[in-house]
Symmetry: C2
Subunit: 367 residues, 2 copies
DNA sequence: ATGAAAGCGCTAACAT
DNA sequence: ATGTTAGCGCTTTCAT
């Protein structure tokens, strides 16, 4: 298939019409408007089609003529394949797929791999609109999407793009609520494990500058949220260790937890900016024999199903709904010309992985 | 977007050519064959394009002309949205996406919802080929795919379709190995929890007839595998309880486990035909305070990441690889006209959820 | 290096 | 109820 295009169609609408001695319109109607011709004639056409091996109207030719592709394009941050490993992305996809399904639209995943850095795939996509899921602010593919003369909906990131629909959640607010839950439990010495803050891999401590200058607003907002809560009770944010990981996986979470606690053994709570990271941290703690939440509190963000099963304390965001809304925004847009911005609510989920902070004395004997 | 088609393109290749006083060919070349015209002229064309808001060649028109859509269609059993909830399906998708990515091809998810029972979506898909993932033997969408004049690759199911590429694993063999592991541990009274066996919802015990007549060969093979192992040690298969669930989710697994053990309290091992079901069974056992594997052995099939984290005894199948191979089969097919059938290996993973069967006496005191 | 001509396969006014 | 006409926007030999 990468070689020559696939075989020429055995028969076309025109050849069928010629064969039958009817007009092309009639054949077209036989497929698209059964009520426009008599039942016997229609049957005759369909029968001839079967006989000649005519597979029905070519979808591409029809799309060209009707000016609709019948599909929505999806642009993702990462390599396409990554999306299927991330439970938040799959939740989003589930919702988006649901919306597409209901509208009878296909969902085209646009191939953006780090290797194929070219933007051609975006130009090549035969779609009626794009959903852009959580991409970095300077993504070239994203720019290419904006150049296409079709409607677009952004999910989460980037922010601040004028005139483009967007759906997101209030990350900062959600994390602030979680932070207050922790400070309410007496935690003062906490550590943060976060996702990548820049396009370049940088695993390790994230400076204050890096926290602020990140090209990933979602991470910035979540970090700001936990900071808000700590500052409220008088903690000096500059003293709070933040460890960053480029990969987003439980393994990365485990190694980040190890790194943070090695450097800051007196930390009583590990705040992770995603459930995936938190799941890794939890696993690490279990392997180390560290009691959660007795000795260490661990929290996440997102509310993915596995976190639920593990009883993780987290902030649940309606990922599926987010995908659905993104799809609806794109598919049900009438002729409106003012953009819509939808912000969905989050919910604090107190599970079994957060508990009271031990006092320093208890703490050292607790090891 | 569901209303009128999106706005007419502001400019076309032809209008740009006219404006510049050059031929259409030249404009086309500026985009597709930069080496066919002088750099200055090319720049002039591109500049004019920017100025006039010409977004580059229309992908649909190009597809019609070149006879290639630059995308692969994916047909799934279930509602599209389900695929993203099932870790096996997402693993497969990951691999398939990887293959598409590398070939620079898009991946179009064809919308098949139970509501939109019509096959139109298959006809509407502008793709160069189809991958069919684990669909039932009598799926009408599948028939529609076969009618399209493009290459197709089947994954897992249906089996026995002549002349169509296929990739699968030896389910029966994998399950047989698992079964021998269990009989080796002394298990003789086992129960099976399986996925749906027919298009109609039927939650509860599955008769021998139903096990054999299922339209889902994969389930049949897995059940046959465990049967093989039990028959080898003299167990009468007719006495082995098999509980079926229509939904494929941990919740369904939990309820199936409850049902099976309520009816057969002397069972020492629960063999599940998927990890997702097994995870639910495990959760149920934990809630009931049933010791695994002390009192009850629980096993799965697939080897999904979460199963790994839980230490589930299971049969690992290379799901990701399966997706990748499916993609490669479709994309790298030269001009071969003989179909390929690829069968990938499985691997028994002995985790922490399988242990020796207790003797009947120990067993009752174990409650 | 550039242009002219010829469709790819189809649908939608509009007429009859 | 059926046919006629006129493209949708583009690429690709083949000439020049």
């Amino acid at each position: 298939m990468s070689g020559p295009p696939h075989v020429r169609r055995p028969a076309t609408l025109a050849s069928l019409a010629a064969e039958l001695g009817v007009s092309r319109t009639t054949v077209s109607n036989a497929y698209n408007r059964p009520d426009q011709l008599s039942a016997p004639l229609r049957e005759k056409v369909l029968e001839a089609a079967r006989r000649l091996g005519y597979p029905g109207p070519d979808p591409v030719a029809r799309s060209l003529r009707t000016r609709r592709a019948g599909a929505v394009g999806l642009l993702l941050t990462e390599a396409l394949s990554y999306a299927f490993r991330d439970p938040v992305a799959t939740g989003f996809l589930e919702g988006l797929a649901l919306a597409c399904e209901q509208a009878g639209q296909g969902l085209l995943l646009v191939p953006v791999s780090p290797e194929h850095a070219d933007v051609a795939a975006v130009h090549q996509a035969g779609v009626d609109g794009f959903v852009v899921y959580s991409v970095s602010e300077d993504d070239p593919h994203f720019r290419a999407v904006l150049e296409r003369p079709v409607p677009t909906v952004i999910c989460d990131q980037p922010i601040g793009v004028e005139g483009v629909d967007r759906v997101s959640v209030d990350d900062r607010d959600g994390m602030r609520a979680l932070g207050r839950h922790l400070t309410g439990l007496g935690h003062r010495r906490i550590g943060v494990l976060c996702m990548r803050l820049g396009p370049q891999r940088q695993d390790g401590p994230a400076s204050l500058a890096r926290q602020q200058e990140t090209s990933y607003p979602v991470q910035r907002e979540r970090i700001s949220g936990i900071r808000d809560a700590l500052v409220e009770v008088g903690v000096d944010w500059a003293s709070v260790p933040v460890v960053e990981r480029f990969e987003h996986s439980p393994e990365a979470g485990a190694s980040a937890a190890a790194e943070l606690l090695a450097g800051h053994p007196d930390v009583t709570a590990l705040v992770c900016t995603s459930d995936v990271i938190a799941i890794g941290a939890l696993q690490w703690a279990a392997e180390q024999g560290i009691d959660v939440p007795g000795r260490l509190t661990v929290t996440g963000f997102d509310g993915v199903p596995e976190a639920d099963r593990l009883g993780l304390t987290t902030v649940r965001q309606p990922v599926r709904r987010k995908g659905q809304v993104a799809g609806e925004l794109l598919l049900e847009r009438g002729d409106r010309n003012t953009p819509k911005y939808v912000v969905l609510p989050t919910e604090l989920v107190v599970g079994a992985t957060s508990g009271p902070a031990k006092k320093r004395e208890e703490f050292f004997s607790g090891w």
